[in-house]
Each structure stands twice: as C-alpha cells, then as structure tokens.
Symmetry: C2
Subunit: 302 residues, 2 copies
C-alpha cells in the first residue's frame, strides 16, 4: 500500500535574500514526494511538458517513488517564478506560465486507485474532486488549498471539503475560508463541514492539529539557515502523511507524532533551494530533529 | 523568603472591542502581584497619589501581598488610557498622566532587601538600577522593559542587562534591542551580555525560554474569551516567578514548568478587564490549565 499524491510538477525560478536559482524542479507533488518518500512508497499523478528535465527527478525513483502517473504532454512545463524579500513568509509572484498544466485533468492509473493515504495538492478543487471520483476507498484523504481557490471556486471547494478527512492549510487561509479570526472557532467550523481533522500551518510559529475535541501544538523549528521557503507546506504534508503510513494507524498519538514529523520535514526543506535539502536528507537526521522537537517542548509537573 | 516586585501601580482606562472600563487598578506591580500571590508571598514597592482607591487592592492583602512598600504621595496617581482595536496585540495609547510617578525613586524597606526573587517591572532602567543598589543578594533577578527604554535609555539599559539573570521581553523588543531578526541569534546576543536566561513573549504565539544552550517553547493558550490584553506580560511574569518560588530551585526543569505557569497566568489575565480575572482565580483552575498545556504539547515517539 502506498501514498498517492496528485499535484503540480513544475520548474521554479526563485530569488530570496540568500540566492537565486532558475528552473529548478518543484511543484506540490515533487516537494511532497521528496519528503514522504523517506518513510513510504509514493505514487505521483501529474503532468509535465516535453521540455521537462526528467533526470532531475532521478533521486525520487531511487526512493521508490512511482512516477508512472506523471504524463508527458507536448508543450511547455508549468513554470512559476517568485521573489522573497526579507519577510520570507510570502513571495511576490513574478510570473506564472501554466503551459501543459492549463489542460490538466488527473488520470489515476488502475494500480493507484486504492491508496492507503491520498494527498490532494493545491490545485483547482474541480480537479481535486475529479481525483476523488477515480479513487475508491482511500484510508485518509488530505487536501491542501490556497486563497485563490477559497475565493474563486468556493462552491467547488466546499463540496470537496465535505469529502476529505484532513484539511491542511495555513492560518490566513483558514481565517479566509471561515471568516473566523480565532483558530479554535475556525477549526470547529471546518470540522462541522466534513474533515475530522484540521492542520493549521503557522510558518515560523509552528503548526496546530485539531482532532475531535483535542488541540495539539508543535512550535516552529528555530532555524538559523533559512534559504528558500518554497515548498515548505508540501514538505510538511509529506512528513505528516509519510509518518502516518509508517505508523500504520490514525490514532490520536500517531497524528500528534505526524505533526512533529511534518514540522521537521518542513524545517529541512527550507534550508536550501528547491528540493536540494530533501534530496540529500536521511532518516537519521530526521529522527535527530524530532528528538530536538521533544527536548524543546516536553516538561514534567510534579 | 519572598518575591519583591518594583513597578507601577496605576489607574487604567481601557477600551477594547469587548467593553470599556475607567480607572481600574493596574500597573506592572499590580498585575504581577495578582498573579504571583497565588503561589508565593509578594512584597511590592511603588508609589500612588492620595487619590488612589486603596480598597481596590484589598484582594492582594488577603493573599499575603505586603503593600507596605507602596508609598502614598500627595498628588495624582499614575493614569494610563488606551484603546485596542481588532488587532488586540498592541494598544493605541490615548493618554499617559505620570502624576506622582514622575518623581518616583524606589525606596526598598529593610525587610524587603533580601528577596529570593526580584522582578524589576517595566520602568526607567535608571530606577531599575537604583533598586539593585539597595538590594543585597537576590537569588534571581528578572527584568522587563519596553521599546521606549531600549531606544531612549540604551546605555542605562545595557548596564542593567549586565546585572540581571533573566531578561523577559516580547519578540519585537528583543529584535529591537539586538538588531537580530532570528530569535535564536538574538537571545545568544543577550546571553553574552549578562542574563543567563532569556524569556521571549510572543503573544498569541506563545513564549520561548532560552537557557544555556537549550530552547523551550510553550504555545499560546487557545483562548476563546479574550477581553483585555493589558497586563498579560506582567501576569505572565508573576506566574513564572511564583512557580519558581514554590519550586524552590532554578533547575532547567523548574524553569520549563515556570514558563508554562507563566503562560497559564497570562492566559487567565486577559479573559477579563484589569485584574478582575486574577482576583477571582484559584490554584486549582491554574493546575487544570497547566494540565491542558500538557495535553496540547506532549507526544511519545516509539
């Protein structure tokens, strides 16, 4: 059994205060896979143009990522370019060229149609719904989204929301979706509309999991080397679902640990440009960082 | 042995989206005492005018707070009025009338000169230094400050910094003081200049303790009833030092628990206007909230 991810496979050009890169491999499905593949077999569905440098995804194949669901279509690959100023929390988009992604409709190969875990990366909610039509029973369905879809495709997004188990979004998106400023009330609002679990990503301030009546916090890892925030959220999702696959259950305790693993993977992802850091990351480094998270959060009351 | 606090005793007029109050008792020494007195005997040094409604501090006397160091001087009490808009993180000051506080010089009564713990509330660093001149050996000296002193009295503040054990400030103040945006680097900067411990308050995002090489995070309590943020930081300090007094040592484990107790007290303080919530708070409620903090942060790795 595997994790299935459907999302973008892209070429990113990025500028941050710490450097500049052109046409590095990125996109939600790639960041997610680079992270989740440390813990679990991953199947990817996406699309690239015939200009895509497939050899740059070789590191994913070495980690048992099945890329047979990534179609190659005649035309240009999806390209995004953005610039981060000293506020690294949100980029300025310089250019988006959808290319072959403009006509993308996910086709889930038969061998991918019964995933244990499904991650619907941040794409049009109509496409996320098309994935659900093709997938039978997934043990746990997680979706990401962004402000653009929350405002522009609200009806479709709300329909999707009724069919997912975990909504994963950042604090601004959750507030925009619900119209509630306080995250407890906002998450209850979401939970009443479908997802049993809500994961709120707060960037440098960490992440929160709302499950049933419980709340669980993980702080942001205190990074000294933050070079490129692109893909942090997808890497977080990969760590979260990768851990759950390895744990083999969705108990409250496993979900808490998953949030810590997600936070660890997100923190590694931003240490270097694109997926460079994740490509050279090992499980022992992850385990070390998770122990650091424990040291930074645990206390005993007499 | 007691905790000694030196700070303002004031009359606050506040407006928040949730209500409006006029001339309620406040000031750093009052918020601190209302919080710390749940755990330890507290001695207060400050000044009020002859218009001060001393009966409103009766709840402190019932909790063994020694107010004999609060001088009454002919004239008006210190008054502050402020307004919070929907961003509850920082108020707009409408008026500050120093009154008798303008000529305040702390006089520490002989019986107060050997405190186990000393809290230097947010006042002019010159006055904070005057306190240190009069106090012999305090087991642990903690100081608060604000942007006004960091910019306006930098030399005096740096002299003070060399003589305290714990600097307690919010994230913006720490960044302003050090010129470092990343809190790890900023805290190391502070630790090299005196304090062995740095406590950074991040409002709704919680608090961080830097001690030796270690870092400890506590999340912000997910409040649904936030009515008045005034005094949250001083109530936090009261919970922090109150717990340390009760613990009887300054071990790493006690400091971590102290940060949780500080966070709990800060979260209670903002539930109602002025010190109303702290005045009717009991230790069992605090213990319950501390257990909630545990539930919201603890996890096990197999």
């Amino acid at each position: 059994m595997s994790i299935l991810v459907v999302g973008s496979v892209a070429l990113d050009s990025l500028e941050t205060p710490f450097g500049k890169v052109t046409d590095v491999v990125g996109g939600s499905a790639v960041h997610f896979s680079a992270s989740a593949s440390l813990f679990a077999p991953v199947q990817v569905v996406g699309v690239v143009g015939d200009d895509f440098p497939s050899e740059k995804l070789a590191f994913l194949k070495e980690r048992e990522v099945d890329l047979s669901g990534v179609e190659t279509v005649s035309g240009e690959s999806f390209r995004w370019s953005g610039r981060y100023t000293h506020d690294l929390s949100s980029p300025e988009t310089l250019e988006t060229r959808l290319g072959v992604f403009a006509d993308f409709h996910p086709r889930i190969p038969p061998a991918f149609q019964s995933p244990e875990l499904l991650f619907l990366g941040n794409i049009d909610p109509r496409l996320q719904l098309e994935v659900l039509e093709q997938v039978g029973d997934a043990g746990l369905v997680t979706c990401d989204t962004m402000n653009y879809w929350i405002d522009g495709s609200r009806n479709e997004f709300m329909e999707l929301l009724g069919r997912v188990d975990v909504l994963m979004a950042n604090d601004g998106e959750i507030r925009q979706l619900t119209g509630k400023t306080d995250l407890v009330t906002a998450s209850r609002w979401v939970q009443e509309r479908g997802p049993s679990h809500v994961v709120v990503k707060k960037g440098e301030h960490g992440a929160v999991l709302f499950h049933d009546e419980e709340i669980f916090f993980v702080p942001g890892y205190p990074l000294k080397d933050l070079n490129d925030p692109t893909g942090a959220g997808d890497s977080f999702a990969g760590g979260f679902l990768g851990f759950l696959h390895a744990a083999g259950d969705f108990s409250a305790e496993s979900l808490r640990c998953a949030l810590v693993f997600g936070s660890a993977l997100g923190s590694f992802a931003v240490e270097d440009f694109g997926v460079s850091r994740l490509a050279r990351l090992g499980r022992e480094e992850v385990a070390h960082r998770v122990r650091e998270f424990r040291q930074m959060t645990q206390f005993e009351i007499n």
